[in-house]
Symmetry: C3
Subunit: 444 residues, 3 copies
């Protein structure tokens, strides 16, 4: 039985969104019909200088990653494909509205009229913000009710907006692809909640904790759309020009490298040398996570390959050794293995970013390149690369603290016996929350 | 048995296309190799001012919506997935050729040489034109032969081109995302044909009128690609600059809002509060339809959320209450529920557009913004927003008349007993028209 | 049992890639942080003139074709979907790294410092290069081990880079969409290897040589993403401006036309007039292959339709008559029918390109258009279109020679009994190389 309050939560929260948007959200100058006058006043010669046209293709790629990428990656369970893609859809659709407000208050508030002015960059950032919560959902897949997911998203987005502001604006860390801000935070947020919601008798659903042939193929759709569009993810909000271009190249290379070492480890450590689809679906993406922070830096093409190489190895070994360990001894039940796909690679990405930043020099970047890449302007005009490296490390700590601390608090809230979560023997079962027609999958 | 004439229809019609293209269709100036000389003559400084580069990303998104979006959304039936995606492919491929001709005669005819000059914008418009027929197919899915679909497309494209010309050029209504021109027309065209082709004994195929688990997951692929790329759909042919940007924001928000109320209604009105995948697959898209006309207007972000909110409610209730009513009392058998996804939201979209246009003012748009957004130029230089609102309403009426009237006429043609349509007990069955290997689905 | 050396091959080769990238590969000027200074020195006014922004949307489309398009097209076998999409993923990820090196040595070597400078165009070309090997994989699907595929890719990429250099640079043939360089070469490379690896007792796996209902729907995902994004494929590396625009239009039209004749032939030549999903999945793409070389030329819209028309007919008849003939009498076992989808249409494309080039004239292209389209500059300043036609034909011969000759040599290597290829009764079976959970597919 689904929680009786899901319709109420959806309607009330959507109504609240309408009111808050009515009070706070307006179009920014590029999406306002006064744009023509603005152009003249600011001596802008052509429509093409509108930032919208630079960002839009990447925006759509990121959008696909959020809804098809994350959504289909979570269809792998034999009887929870509806819940995987469907609840992913629900919480992303809610989360992006709340993210526009929360991130808007920090980043896009126009102090002259107290309104948040949104444009294409806000939409991309909202998708990024949502990604953190979807990663957290990966750890909890099949074990929570949709109402719990809505609560997780409400708090997750809020925490995200705060930690993002601290990391990017106060600490002045750079994090183009969000290794720290998105992946480290999101993964530890989800893992902490999972730890708080530990189910000692989850093995009562063990018959449903696995894939069937076709559900594995569906999940591969998610994998591939994440893998292919990850260069857009890591470059979507970087500065135009060389930084954006470099982020694409680095991500493309890191991901290519990860595929080979994932396959190698999967075959090496499985009996009979057979490949495991779980590894190919997930660990092949670890390189994209780990190259997130440093994607716009001078990581160098071979550096990207090295990062990808290591993450393919670590992530796959994580699935083979660490996940069972975490479940058995640490009471962390991690359905999708986000510890291997997001947590460890995210931390690695933060460290790689710190090292790469600390090693930056004018000889490699040029003076202007250094200033632009690391945004050494305003209050940070005199910042040295080595100091920047320290700030990057500080950013990673903040992401960890927010993820773990926030997850424990929200986990405590979600333990209250009011949310209609499924019984231990109903986990991973779409019939709990969905009308299911056709029962072929029960046979297998 | 398939109609014996399908090969003949395909070959004859494709031959006709070749002849007509040979006589009428040429490249436009941007795709002609004299472009370099044209640039010099017109003092155009850079390739980037080529409209092609503004439009191409949206074009590809729309293209994905037409073939994967509509195609996979129609794979939900347990034994008609081939027909869903395959016939969608066939009629779209034919329809876009015919649309280039029909729309070209109205919009891209070069009177100096009597040729239709095509470029990227014509390709987008052809995809739009095809969308109308694919919507109509949704109402008829599983009950008609491929030859009938080809006939439906031939007439549908023709009717579309005429009503589009009347609505956009003669009446001077604006319809960026085609709430009226595409969705209202297409849905009523299909529903009227379905009414003309009413099958009293369709329940003889009732064993096949439903989904199985995996076919529902396939259909979700269609849903998500439609949902994600709808901002491109509603903005693909708007003016560059703020209008295009605003159309993206409004559509993104309306769709997000629709998801929450769809989930709420689905859970509220089903027994045990369970969610129904049919609603999640379809009603979540209603907000994109309803915001189509007004997407480029100053609908405001909260306005978009309100439109999405209402359409999620109405569309889901449509699936629960109106579709059974239509089938039982009005003799309209609507396989995919296009009445709920396209017809009602399309009409709402037309009304929202009329109201938003009537409420426009220079204080909100600025003088230049108002002129540009509503194209108050040439013969319409002195048009007032309130008058424009009336014209919008007129456009909606034309779309309804063409849809219903055209559908009844074409339906009468399709009733002729020559088209090889399936028997009542062979509807919704791929074996009628396809070689089907592997019979697992028969078990369920 | 998988070859015991797969992990070793992956780790050693990936390590080699890291070393070679460390020695040879650097960012090009647009992705280097000295870009800002470069811009000033070269008086470039705006970021938008960065080639990156012209190429990026097409790059992502091509990327989707490589991984989802080719990958899912090869999921059609009832028990080899993992191998289809998974090994496609593996060899593409390896191949693109090797391609960056091989193509880089020929095309992007900076002689001042001996480094290969890469940017977005190299990434697109690497994807193209990989496509040749994926086509070859199509002929061998289900019959080779992953280690054999890695070897096939290593040599295939190398051969590709050499033939591409000869065809495009030495012979000065034009081949925007790679009808010759990619499709003809890749298909004959794979067919020759298949001939060398002929298995007389392959019918021992005949129970697995076919599709089931859902695997056919999965394959259609691949078909559609290839079909939809083919205009990007054929235009991704053409000159900006009219050539790119024209390539999109020609490809769009050729593909539309192919769909209709494929359906016609499929229905006409099957018993009971039923459609065969194999044809719809594959032959509908033949027009995109065949229009590849001439896509940027003045093929004219009706010319594109004619090319598509013919290829739909030929490719479908190929599946019905030629493939069985090749298997029975020529000892070529072609799992996916690449002879029908790539080899014949590729050769046709080369011929169409030669004719279209030979027929070019200043009256049609204008003087500047002719020079730009055919790159009649430098050493080729005085080239005549008729001569160009001859060079195009020469290019086609080189592609054939490299494909057939290279394939026979590599096939001889792959016949060595050390690669762990599957036994005749284990072909087309994922259980040979993958952990397979859930066994529903065994029932059918």
């Amino acid at each position: 039985m689904t929680s009786p309050s899901l319709p109420a939560v959806c309607v009330v929260w959507q109504t609240a969104m309408i009111i808050l948007f009515g009070v706070f959200i307006r179009y920014d100058e590029e999406s306002d019909p006064h744009w023509l006058e603005h152009k003249k006043l600011n001596n802008i010669s052509s429509d093409i200088e509108n930032d919208f046209y630079f960002r839009y293709p990447s925006f759509q790629d990121v959008h696909v990653m959020i809804f098809v990428g994350f959504g289909f990656l979570m269809t792998f369970l034999k009887r929870y494909s509806f819940g995987g893609v469907g609840f992913n859809f629900l919480i992303a659709a809610f989360g992006l509205q709340w993210a526009l407000l929360m991130q808007g208050w920090f980043h896009s508030l126009d102090y002259t009229d107290g309104k948040i002015k949104i444009g294409i960059e806000n939409l991309i950032n909202a998708d990024f913000c949502v990604a953190g919560c979807l990663i957290a959902y990966g750890a909890l897949l099949g074990k929570v009710s949709p109402v719990q997911l809505m609560v997780l998203t409400l708090f997750g987005i809020t925490l995200f907006a705060v930690e993002e502001y601290i990391i990017l604006n106060l600490i002045h860390a750079r994090d183009a692809g969000g290794s720290m801000v998105i992946h480290t935070f999101g993964a530890y947020y989800g893992l902490s909640i999972s730890w708080m919601l530990y189910r000692p008798n989850l093995d009562q659903s063990s018959r449903l904790q696995g894939s069937v042939y076709h559900s594995d193929v569906f999940a591969t759709i998610g994998t591939l759309f994440l893998w292919m569009f990850w260069p857009s993810f890591n470059s979507a909000i970087t500065d135009h020009g060389d930084g954006q271009h470099r982020a694409v190249i680095n991500t493309y290379l890191a991901l290519a490298s990860t595929v080979l070492t994932t396959v190698a480890m999967s075959s090496l450590f499985q009996k009979h040398g057979k490949l495991d689809m779980v590894h190919v679906q997930n660990s092949t993406l670890a390189g994209g996570v780990a190259v997130g922070t440093a994607a716009e830096f001078m990581l160098m093409p071979y550096g990207s390959l090295i990062v990808g190489f290591c993450c393919g190895v670590i992530s796959t070994l994580g699935y083979i050794y660490i996940s069972p360990f975490l479940e058995k001894y640490m009471k962390v039940q991690d359905t999708c293995g986000v510890h291997n796909l997001h947590a460890m690679p995210g931390v690695i990405g933060g460290i790689v970013g710190a090292i790469t930043a600390a090693a930056a020099s004018e000889s490699v970047y040029g003076h202007e390149g250094l200033v632009k890449t690391f945004d050494f302007e305003g209050a940070f005009e005199k910042m040295e690369p080595t100091t920047q490296g320290g700030h990057q490390a500080g950013g990673l700590c903040v992401a960890l603290i927010f993820g773990i601390g926030g997850g424990m608090i929200v986990g405590a809230i979600l333990r209250l016996p009011i949310w209609g979560d499924p019984a231990d023997d109903n986990c991973f079962d779409d019939e709990t929350y969905w009308e299911v027609r056709g029962r072929e999958f029960i046979l297998f």
